[in-house]
């Protein structure tokens, strides 16, 4: 929804629109009451449509260059509620087999829109921290060299933030299955593939379905 008071210019336009809106209603009311009511209904619908028309266009793709570190295979994992999945652990272990791995797990602090807008994210960060700590313990138990971070509530933003300080050779995004995954509904995996120059592997929860995007690249790491 467009914010009509986002800038002075948009507020001025909103004022002009308000003048036109009420002027037409008043003119209609001078002719007939029922006509004023009809004009009111029509103009209100038009106004709502115009305000809703301000839907933001998706951000253009941003390519983030990565510089691989020699002799180390760096894996970036983006996951939250599926962090404990066996499938994710198996995928990380598979990618790390036979190389000196460096795994960074980023757990986006998922939050409601209202709480995000009001920067009320302590609860979301605490919940993400609890999941992350448990997952790190499990992964370290599997012999992996792994560390973790809490990321932005938007998984794509969390991914970009992490890539700025962690030059990943591969990215794993773990989600719930289609139909119950908010990330998949928003096209997070596709957007990540379009946005970064790093192979992105999609792991679906515990259900053993994995869509590996660049198996060849993954295989050539050793």
């Amino acid at each position: 929804m467009r914010n009509p008071f986002k800038s002075e210019e948009s507020a001025f336009r909103f004022l002009l629109g308000t003048i036109a809106y009420f002027a037409l209603i008043v003119i209609a009311s001078l002719i007939a009451t029922w006509l004023a009511f009809v004009v009111f209904i029509v103009l209100t619908c038009v106004a709502f449509a115009m305000l809703r028309g301000g839907r933001k266009q998706p951000a253009p793709g941003e390519h983030i260059e990565h510089v691989a570190v020699e002799d180390t295979w760096r894996v970036l994992v983006i996951a939250n509620e599926t962090l404990h999945g066996d499938r994710l652990r198996e995928e990380i272990v598979r990618m790390s087999a036979g190389v000196a791995e460096d795994v960074l797990v980023v757990c986006p602090a998922l939050n409601s829109k209202v709480r995000t807008w009001t920067s009320d994210e302590d609860g979301a960060r605490d919940a993400a921290r609890a999941r992350l700590d448990a997952a790190l313990e499990t992964l370290r138990g599997a012999g992996l060299r792994v560390r973790g971070e809490i990321g932005d509530g938007d998984p794509l933003q969390a991914l970009e933030d992490a890539l700025r300080s962690f030059s990943a050779d591969a990215i794993i995004i773990s989600t719930h299955p289609a139909g119950s995954s908010n990330w998949l509904e928003r096209g997070v995996v596709e957007a990540a593939r379009a946005r970064v120059d790093v192979p992105v592997t999609h792991v679906i929860g515990d259900t053993t379905i994995s869509v590996a995007s660049d198996e060849a690249e993954t295989a050539s790491r050793a």
Partner: protein
């Protein structure tokens, strides 16, 4: 310190960590959202009282305002025109500074203050001659409540504009940095929008 923080600061960071700002809405926009929300609720409560008195109330008068009182529609209409015009001068002021026209900024702000003050003065004169007072019934209380609430907003707007004008004459603001004019401008247009709603619903319809 985490490994990530060490990577960022080289392990030699002093002082508090940078504030975490996960929200992708800039604080100024968020503040404006919250402000508009509170204002909408405030005016909404007054309008709810107005519609109750005029429509829902079973003892609502047949005519509005109830006989024998009258609202000065013409004077209020002139006042509305003055306030609407002040929005145009406000817009001109901001467009001027965006084009690096300082004289235009100063003139625009001064004209806006002048017209805002004229609006308030006219409203006070209207109150003095309107012929009823808050004790003359619910309709009078609602009338003074709504128009007085709006008048208070105009007064706050005039204060903001005065600060902006003083800064404009002291050489502040530039085509790149004019936030101090933009925010009072948004507020001023909002006050105008609210007045149009008040004028149409209370005086005209």
């Amino acid at each position: 310190m985490s490994a990530h923080a060490e990577a960022l600061h080289g392990g030699d960071h002093h002082g508090p960590p940078a504030a975490n700002q996960s929200s992708r809405i800039p604080p100024t926009i968020l503040g404006m959202f919250l402000f508009i929300g509170t204002e909408a609720m405030l005016f909404g409560s007054f309008f709810a009282a107005y519609f109750f008195v005029r429509v829902v109330n079973p003892d609502a008068p047949d005519t509005w305002p109830p006989h024998p009182f009258e609202f000065p529609k013409f004077v209020a209409g002139i006042n509305t025109a003055i306030l609407v015009t002040s929005s145009f001068t406000m817009h001109w002021a901001l467009q001027s500074i965006k084009r690096n026209n300082r004289r235009g900024l100063q003139a625009g702000l001064l004209l806006t203050i002048l017209m805002g003050s004229a609006f308030l003065l006219t409203q006070f004169i209207e109150y003095a001659h309107i012929g009823f007072n808050t004790g003359d019934g619910a309709f009078a209380s609602v009338f003074f409540g709504l128009t007085g609430l709006h008048g208070a907003h105009v007064l706050v707007g005039l204060l903001l504009l005065t600060f902006a004008t003083i800064r404009a004459f002291r050489g502040h603001y530039s085509p790149e940095h004019h936030h101090g004019v933009e925010l009072p401008g948004i507020y001023w247009h909002f006050v105008d929008v609210m007045w149009i709603v008040v004028y149409v619903t209370v005086y005209l319809i």
